[in-house]
């Protein structure tokens, strides 16, 4: 099976400290993969390497079979959606302008943009009359919905989410988790989700990749990790989040 995104022996150091040990990983199309692990385990670094916000010290990041480099980075980024904690919305632009930023930049036809925006509002349950508001005028949950719409605007082949719900209160968070699950299913979206919450990973992802100290410790379904932990660390990590009912 050809994977859209593939990492071959990719490693990354910050200063002297190793953030990611040489790692091989491929993501299956149409599925949601969760990267999970304690802070500093290298899960965000891995995500940032995929979208070329970081360059690997060794190894290759392949996108659709081609190595990501300076020449094709711009084009590849436009085929990937990226959502971060707190949204990363531009405060000087309205919700609408944030979502349409790239389409307008690329000169897409107005009618097409309008139709896509309608579609996305419905999909992400975002009230259309709030489109003219600035990020400062939106709630945290609404900001994440706008951020998601912005990431989905160009119909990306892969959606990357870096702790997208990390800063939200529990009620908003669970509503958004439900909506995200539905959106992924409806769009058959290939998605990679970084989280430190086992419950969220289990709920949203088809496959979980558990990382520690820059290495992949175990890959599998939530049940696999629970029932057949690869080592002491895996069972400790899962037991630490014992409130989770899965």
């Amino acid at each position: 099976m050809v994977s859209l995104v593939q990492l071959i022996g990719v490693s990354k150091k910050f200063g002297g400290a190793s953030a990611l040990q040489p790692t091989d990983l491929a993501f299956q199309s149409g599925l949601t993969t969760a990267l999970i692990g304690p802070s500093g385990c290298g899960k965000s670094t891995l995500l940032r390497l995929i979208i070329a916000l970081l360059q690997p010290d060794s190894g290759q990041v392949l996108f659709d079979g081609a190595e990501v480099n300076d020449a094709n980075a711009q084009e590849i980024r436009r085929r990937v959606g990226y959502v971060i904690q707190e949204g990363g919305l531009f405060p000087h632009l309205t919700a609408r302008a944030n979502v349409l930023l790239m389409s307008r930049h690329l000169g897409h036809p107005a009618a097409e943009m309008k139709a896509r925006l309608e579609e996305l509002c419905a999909l992400s349950q975002f009230p259309r009359d709030a489109l003219e508001r600035y990020p400062a005028e939106l709630s945290g949950g609404q900001r994440q919905r706008v951020s998601l719409m912005r990431a989905l605007m160009l119909a990306p082949e892969v959606l990357l989410l870096d702790e997208p719900l990390g800063a939200l209160d529990p009620l908003v968070r669970s509503a958004l988790q439900r909506d995200l699950k539905e959106i992924f299913a409806r769009l058959k979206q290939t998605a990679v989700l970084v989280t430190h919450d086992m419950g969220e990973a289990a709920y949203l992802a088809d496959e979980i990749v558990l990382m520690n100290e820059g290495r992949i410790v175990q890959r599998g379904s939530a049940a696999d990790l629970r029932d057949h932990p690869a080592n002491e660390f895996v069972s400790e990590f899962i037991n630490a989040q014992r409130s989770v009912a899965f």
Binding site: L53, F90, M102
Partner: protein, 486 residues
Amino acid sequence: MKIGLLLGLVATSALAADPIVVGSKKFTESYVLGGIAKTVLERAGFAVQERAGMGGTIILWQALSGGQIDVYPEYTGTIDEEILKTKEPLSHEEMRTALEKFGVGMSTDLGFNNTYALVMRRTEAAKLGIQTISDLRRHPELKVGLTHEFLDRQDGWRPLATTYGLTMPNVSGIDHALGYAALARGAIDLKDAYSTDAKIQENDLVVLRDDRHFFPEYKAVFLYRLTIDPRAITALNHFGRIDEAKMISLNAAAERTKDYAFAASLYFHPTASDSAPRRDLWPKMARWTARHLQLAGISLLLSVLIGLPLGIVASRGGALGQTILAIVAMIQTIPSLALLALLVPVPFLGISATTAIVALLLYGLLPIVRNTATGLQDISPALRDSAIALGLEPGARLRKIYLPLASRTILAGIKTSAVISIGTATLAALIGAGGLGEPILSGLNLNDHTTILEGAIPAALLALLVQGLFDLLDRFLIPRGLRLGS
């Protein structure tokens, strides 16, 4: 007939083509003589541009020999001592020969000598029958009050007394201005002065003739570039004479009315009334203000055009960024007067409005460069990552995201730069570029507070106005989304 008409047209247009630039030094008499030269040339059919009160001898001489001005009034003694720096006084013919090497000509002397002189009350002199310095020998009882400078100078009181055999026992040192008051009260009977000082007329004093030619000659002349139209040279040499008494009265009129152009016109129309010398205040102030805004506005625009790109480069840090910030900060530490003086010898600048604008734009750079760099550096990494991850090219990131996000800080820098520019532009008058510095300078020169305020108050109001204008501009230029949070 037709050919004659044609020649006439050619001649007229040639006259109108390049204005003759008349400069003057920064003291009353020089302003007045500059004004007289202007009228003389205008009456001869030339277009004239006046650069009044440009500075001291060195600046005027550099401007003349460098071709930024064509004519200015000078004194033979100064030509000897400061320009040609000769050991022995030269004759006028020797001076002309020496000046020719610089492409400069010297007019016939204008008719008066502005040198050191001894003065006394006219009534007292008449009573005692004193007309010359030699006559003083008969009156050793006179009380003498001299400026400290004149007392100490090599060519001052002591050699003078030796030359004339004066034996007054009662000689004291007194400040120049206070000396006139002491003379009027009768506390002293004799003091030193410049021979065309307006105070001589004001206090009804008389200048004693230097019958043994002790004092060096400071005959007034016009210096001009030899390349100007020969008819202009003829006009400057043959417009008439100005004697000491006339010059004293013109200087007195200038100091009384604070209007140099009016004082100069008195030479041509001695009967003109000076009862309403301030009639032109409002139009004059409007002209100064317009000029001031022009200087500050052009320099601000250039500061922005140069400062923004420099700030963008500086925001990226590294050796280049550090160097830019260091150089721009260093410029700011140069005193503005020194910066002007440094720029004057630069080719293509010289004594001109361009120099003033260059100086102002250099001063305006720091706030713009620093605020642009800081504003861009302060953008959160999350927003930078978002802009990159969306797939915007570097140029589009800057234009659509980074600059708007930094707009508040950048505008604050431009505002600071504008206010600095308005304030510093007053110094432009020092190199004859005009603006509200003009009344401030002549006011300082005349020790006249009203004239100083005519420049200082509008300048302060302008600075406030500009500040207010920029506050208003913030509302249009800073995106609404950025103003919500604060």
